[in-house]
Every structure is written in structure tokens, then in C-alpha cells.
Symmetry: C2
Subunit: 149 residues, 2 copies
């Protein structure tokens, strides 16, 4: 007899947590005036420095395909959150640069996440949360470097 459903595994927990985080984040972003931004826009906005970045770089950081990033950037341009500028160092490339509105969204999203994190830090305890976050960073990095054996 196969033993099922006794203990939550990493996959379930990460999936559940991800969905729940997303729900709160986008509900609050909408409350704060960013009603049109959708979850996948985060794969660009969350990784976008103020001075801008190339689409390929955003794809690499977020772990998504460059094709998706291209489409997402199109939508963000449409929403007025970013603009495309030529990259002076490489005429093939374009820099994706946040607008004022984009910087506002990024700031608010970070603030919301920071509040959520503070809530959980108080819940599980300072020290445990510190270890949790450090482990999560290391595990995420390590898991992303998994290659088909």
C-alpha cells in the first residue's frame, strides 16, 4: 500500500503559499490604484531596477522565457508602466525602463510584500524567520540550477 497524503511536501507548500501571496498582493495593489496589473507582470516589474534592464536579463532573473517577457513588456508599455529605450551599448538590445507610474507600482508592491513578511516574521519569530528566509533563498537558487541529468 502506497502511503499518501501524510505530510505536506515542498511542492504543495510552495504552490499553496504562492497562490495565497498572489491573492493578497494583487487585491491590495488594486485597492491602492493599480487595478490593471496582473500577476505575470510581476515577472518583469519585480526584477526591474530603476535604471532599466534588458528583456533577456529579465528573462534570466525571473526564470521565464524571453518570448513571454517580450509580451509582458508590451502590456506594461500599454499600461504606461515602462518604456523601451535603445541600449547605447548594443543596437540589437532595448532597455526596459520603468516610468513614474511603474516605479510607483514597484514601490507599492514591495511595501505590501514587506508588510506580509513582517506579519509572518512576528508569527514564527525573528530568529526562525531569518533562518527560513536564508534557506529559502539558497534553496530557490540551488533548485533553479537543476539540470536534466
Amino acid at each position: 500500500m502506497v502511503d499518501t497524503a501524510r505530510e505536506a511536501d515542498l511542492g504543495m507548500l510552495v504552490g499553496q503559499l504562492g497562490r495565497a501571496l498572489q491573492e493578497e498582493l494583487f487585491a491590495k495593489l488594486a485597492e491602492q490604484g493599480h487595478r490593471e496589473v496582473r500577476p505575470r507582470h510581476g515577472t518583469v516589474l519585480a526584477f526591474l531596477p530603476p535604471e532599466g534592464a534588458r528583456a533577456t536579463e529579465l528573462a534570466r532573473r525571473s526564470g521565464q522565457h524571453k518570448q513571454i517577457v517580450g509580451v509582458i513588456v508590451d502590456e506594461l508599455v500599454e499600461l504606461g508602466y515602462v518604456r523601451r529605450e535603445p541600449d547605447p551599448r548594443d543596437r540589437r538590445a532595448k532597455l526596459v525602463v520603468p516610468t513614474e507610474s511603474g516605479l510607483d507600482e514597484i514601490g507599492k508592491a514591495r511595501a505590501i510584500l514587506a508588510l506580509i513578511e513582517r506579519r509572518h516574521r512576528q508569527d514564527v519569530g525573528e530568529e526562525a524567520y531569518r533562518i527560513f528566509k536564508a534557506a529559502l533563498e539558497r534553496i530557490a537558487l540551488s533548485q533553479r540550477s537543476w539540470q536534466q541529468s
Copy 2:
């Protein structure tokens, strides 16, 4: 100046880890003979006890809508992983019960995840991993109980 892209937040990390876990899990499941199972099938299979469960219960546990669960169960029936049985206690309800093949998939998926977890446990250390996992469980549970204020 808005401070962007300094430190990875919970949302990014969880998203990246989730995608990366999914990639390894389904690549290995395919290697082990389960080539047709797709990520969302996990929302049913991962939470399915050997004796079966109701669709609504699966929806509640996984945090997904019951409509999606219904479609997923349809697909799993098609794939031969589960069957629907009437629930003797309630004529409205149906029990979703894993078949032999379903139990095989569930067992293999759990084994793959367990191996992945062992890898990360050795990487970050026994004690840190224990704290990480306990915090993750607590945080996932707590975050799921967030309600629109």
C-alpha cells in the same frame, strides 16, 4: 528614489522555487513512465488519500476552485489515474479514488520530491532545514487564511 531590486522578496523566491521544482518533478515523472501527467494534475493527486476524497474537499485542500478540480478529475479519469465512485453517505457527492496507476504516480511523485528535499537538507543543514520546513508550513497556512480586509 524608489528602492527597487535590492533584496529578493518572498513573492519572487516562492515563484522561482515553484517553477523550478515543477520542472524537475515533471521531467523525472516522465522519465519514470508518467509522461502524460501535467502540473495541474498535482492539485488533485498530491492531496488524494488512498481511500479517495470528494472533489470539494480536494478543492479546499489545494486552494483551487471546485470547477478546476472537476476538469482535472475528468482528465485523470481519462488517463486512468482515478475513478469516480458514488459516495454512500451523500448521493450528491462522488468519491475520487486513485487507481493502481494513480497510486503509482503518487508514490513516484512523493519519492522524487523527497529526494529533492534531501538534497536541499544536506545543502542548508539538518537543523536549518527543519526550521525552514516548519516555518514554511506555518506561513503557508497563515497566508492562506488571509481575507480581504
